[in-house]
């Protein structure tokens, strides 16, 4: 019996955070923001096994669960790292595991683990997008348009949720009839793309695609948790150093209370994310509700912490000098991805029979 990370999870977490601390620097973030990604970082993390967390051992992964993936996402958020973990480490492997056939699993999973395959994810059909999602499937050919595909930088493949949520389409990024227009997002470290298809040949993965969405929402919540925690830790440390009126600003009660408010809001989120992640593996009857609520709640708390922590830094927080806006923008963008909090709460309501 253990609530929270077990021994081996803590060890992996330490290793991952260690690797990130060495590789993700202010300069590397700036370079990634300019280039639209950090391919070398992903390759290094794949060598650490990050892309194989959710891949069964038979296909070269470590066969772990969403708790492990959530811990990893938290660490990546904490580092404000530019990686395609959400798409290629969580959604694609999980989709293949849950909905893919044996042949597809054999074909794709080992390549995901190695980092050779990178999958851009277009789930707008299921997330209440305010953009465009106009997709038509004829036989095994996909036509139409969808905006806001995730993790599109260097994508070798595309995974597209089809309207209705009963299936996913998987295709090569360079398949005939595919047009991909890269978009620079508010979060420069997570580039997006708009996709257009004209009778593009796809493989169909039939089944409940919403389970992949649920897991991804937990991963996003975990990432926001890590990013917000990093902002709060930074703000507390900065407040201890910065002096005004002859004393550290951390000694002003208004500053202390602002930090206390953020800590009070953020600390319980950790257990919510853990449990929501755990529920995806079981899977529990409440798994969908918990995923939606975890995402919605972290979206709300994340926004408050992002604002409050930046305020503690004063003008320094508003500049690019400390790189603080990377975390701020990660939190801001995560809120809108895969359904904002209002949409998530709608989904949570449906999942618990309120219609």
């Amino acid at each position: 019996m253990e609530f929270g990370p077990g021994e081996s999870q803590r060890l992996f977490d330490d290793a991952l955070r260690g690797a990130l601390a060495g590789r993700v620097t202010p300069e590397s973030r700036r370079a990634a923001a300019a280039a639209g990604g950090d391919a070398a970082l992903w390759q290094a993390l794949c060598e650490l096994g990050l892309a194989g967390v959710l891949v069964p051992e038979a296909q070269g992964g470590s066969g772990l669960g969403m708790m492990d993936a959530a811990l990893a996402a938290e660490a990546l958020g904490h580092a404000a790292a530019s990686t395609p973990f959400l798409g290629s480490g969580v959604m694609a492997p999980l989709a293949l595991r849950l909905l893919g056939g044996a042949a597809q699993q054999e074909e794709f999973l080992p390549r995901l683990v190695a980092g050779e395959m990178r999958v851009a994810i277009a789930f707008a059909a299921l997330t209440g997008t305010t953009g465009t999602c106009d997709l038509r499937l004829r036989g095994e050919r996909l036509s139409g348009r969808v905006t806001g595909a995730l993790d599109a930088a260097d994508a070798t493949h595309l995974m597209v949720a089809l309207p209705g949520g009963e299936a996913l389409a998987l295709l090569a990024a360079d398949a005939p009839g595919v047009a991909l227009v890269p978009r620079r997002s508010v979060d420069r470290l997570r580039p997006l793309a708009d996709l257009a298809f004209e009778s593009a040949p796809v493989a169909i993965l039939p089944g409940d695609a919403r389970r992949v969405l649920d897991a991804a929402r937990v991963a996003l919540a975990a990432e926001t948790l890590g990013a917000a925690q990093s902002m709060l830790d930074g703000a507390v440390a900065y407040a201890g150093q910065r002096r005004q009126f002859g004393r550290p600003i951390a000694s002003f009660q208004a500053v202390k209370h602002a930090c206390a408010e953020m800590a009070a809001a953020l600390e319980p989120c950790r257990a919510l994310v853990w449990y929501a992640a755990h529920a995806q593996d079981a899977p529990e009857p409440e798994a969908r509700m918990l995923a939606a609520q975890a995402k919605a709640h972290l979206d709300e708390v994340g926004r408050e912490v992002a604002r409050g922590a930046t305020e503690v830094y004063g003008g320094m927080g508003f500049t690019e000098l400390l790189g603080l806006p990377f975390w701020f923008k990660r939190i801001m963008a995560n809120r809108q991805l895969l359904g904002g909090p209002e949409r998530c709460r709608d989904d949570a309501a449906l999942a618990q029979g309120m219609s």
């Binding site: 019996m1 253990e2 609530f3 929270g4 990370p5 077990g6 999870q9 708790m67 507390v236 407040a239 201890g240 550290p248 951390a250 000694s251 009660q253 500053v255 202390k256 209370h257 930090c259 206390a260 408010e261 800590a263 009070a264 809001a265 600390e267 319980p268 989120c269 950790r270 257990a271 919510l272 853990w274 449990y275 992640a277 755990h278 918990l290 609520q293 975890a294 919605a296 709640h297 709300e300 209002e342 709460r345 949570a348 309501a349 309120m354 219609s355």
Partner: protein, 403 residues
């Protein structure tokens, strides 16, 4: 994360189903305005039944009258879940059971444990907490009620205020100054005393709920045997902090929050405006779901804290936030309830002592009492000071003009 149910957990679940089917109807009604009456026969019988089945005082050792189970997060979660679903009372939650008993288990003498824990968990002995004074609220350590020692007795003089339940309590755990020469925090002792001691006068204070839930308590030459001190003279501040740790968990209890969430959902499903249930109206549903999200975080946070405590880990930031977050959230939940009741919820007819309040009165009494809990047990500002200083390591408040 390993929450796999063992055979023992499954047996507990089966036992609970059986218990609820056989005894559920004997449960007293749940909650209501913060322990304003002495437990009646029904409550005491229910408590005895719960202890016998290991559903209350579960981790209190057998030799002190408890059930003697090892602390286990899943046990606690399984029991709470089952009781919440069935709408059953979780048993007595007073300051004696939730605050004094764990304090004695941590720092009491063997004799004190044997004497007080049994009757307290059974609800036979009711305790009140004598901390606050008219001049010492947030600045508790400035308290002035004092005792001198005379032939084996503390002789106590002074005044306490806001003392919940003192009007029917049997016993008090009291903070008073016994070492007048010692610095502020080192001159205080934590003393157990009978409310029947000559020289104690209790005057009820009416509160905004309309219930007299707390009191002023006056001490005039009240004599208490010296062996009733906990941990020793001058160690009272240390003991008070042990109690406070448990008070925080009690006041921010997540099972209570989840129970509120269940009741609130039922309310929103029932109340209709223009023939449409509130739960089907987006504004109401959105408000409910936001609070549900916050409550779920506290539910799992509590499981995490119980798990850490069971492993013997030092409590840190996680524990320090519970009172502040839990009481504010409790208030927000009852705020939604009174909003849902709308104008039809305004008739407020609380019973004095006995009898159950109607639903609207109950929600309003809870709502107002929730504000009391935001203030009591260390106000939100004081909690935030503690979170910042002890949880985040930020500089302490400058101390002005006190020793």
């Amino acid at each position: 994360m390993d929450l796999t149910l063992s055979d023992r957990h499954r047996a507990l679940q089966a036992g609970l189903r059986d218990f609820i089917a056989r005894h559920g109807h004997r449960s007293p009604p749940v909650g209501g305005g913060g322990g304003r009456v002495r437990p009646d026969r029904r409550v005491l019988d229910w408590q005895a039944l719960l202890i016998e089945h290991g559903l209350a005082a579960r981790a209190v050792p057998r030799q002190y009258g408890g059930y003697g189970a090892d602390p286990d997060v899943l046990d606690a979660a399984i029991i709470t879940e089952a009781f919440n679903r069935a709408g059953l009372s979780p048993g007595i939650q007073g300051q004696g059971i939730r605050m004094l008993v764990p304090t004695l288990l941590e720092v009491g003498t063997e004799a004190q444990r044997r004497r007080w824990i049994g009757p307290t968990i059974r609800g036979e002995t009711i305790w009140c907490q004598g901390y606050s004074e008219p001049e010492s609220g947030s600045d508790l350590a400035s308290l002035r009620t004092h005792a001198r020692v005379e032939d084996g007795h503390f002789v106590i003089n002074g005044q306490k205020i806001w003392t919940s339940s003192a009007h029917y309590a049997d016993m008090m755990f009291l903070l008073c100054r016994t070492e007048p020469e010692a610095p502020k925090h080192e001159g205080i002792s934590y003393i157990l005393l009978s409310m029947d001691t000559p020289g104690i006068e209790v005057r009820p204070l009416p509160t905004m709920t309309g219930h007299a839930t707390f009191n002023e308590v006056f001490f005039t030459e009240a004599r208490v045997p010296v062996e009733n001190v906990v941990l020793g003279r001058g160690k009272g501040w240390q003991v008070a902090n042990v109690t406070l740790k448990h008070e925080r968990m009690l006041l921010g209890d997540a099972s209570k929050l989840m129970h509120r969430v269940h009741r609130l959902r039922a309310l929103l499903e029932r109340v209709e405006v223009d023939g449409v249930a509130l739960i089907r109206r987006p504004q109401w549903r959105e408000r409910f779901l936001r609070l549900q999200g916050e409550a779920l975080a506290m539910k799992y946070h509590q499981m995490r804290l119980l798990g850490e405590a069971a492993k013997g880990e030092e409590p840190g930031l996680g524990v320090l936030i519970v009172k502040y977050v839990g009481t504010v959230l409790a208030w927000k939940l009852t705020a939604l309830a009174v909003d849902a009741l709308g104008d039809a919820g305004l008739p407020y007819e609380p019973h004095d002592d006995v009898g159950e309040d109607d639903e609207a009165t109950g929600w309003y009494a809870d709502h107002m009492y929730d504000l009391g809990l935001i203030i009591g047990g260390g106000s939100s500002n004081i909690q935030k000071n503690i979170i910042a200083e002890r949880g985040l390591g930020m500089p302490r408040e400058p101390r002005v003009g006190t020793s």
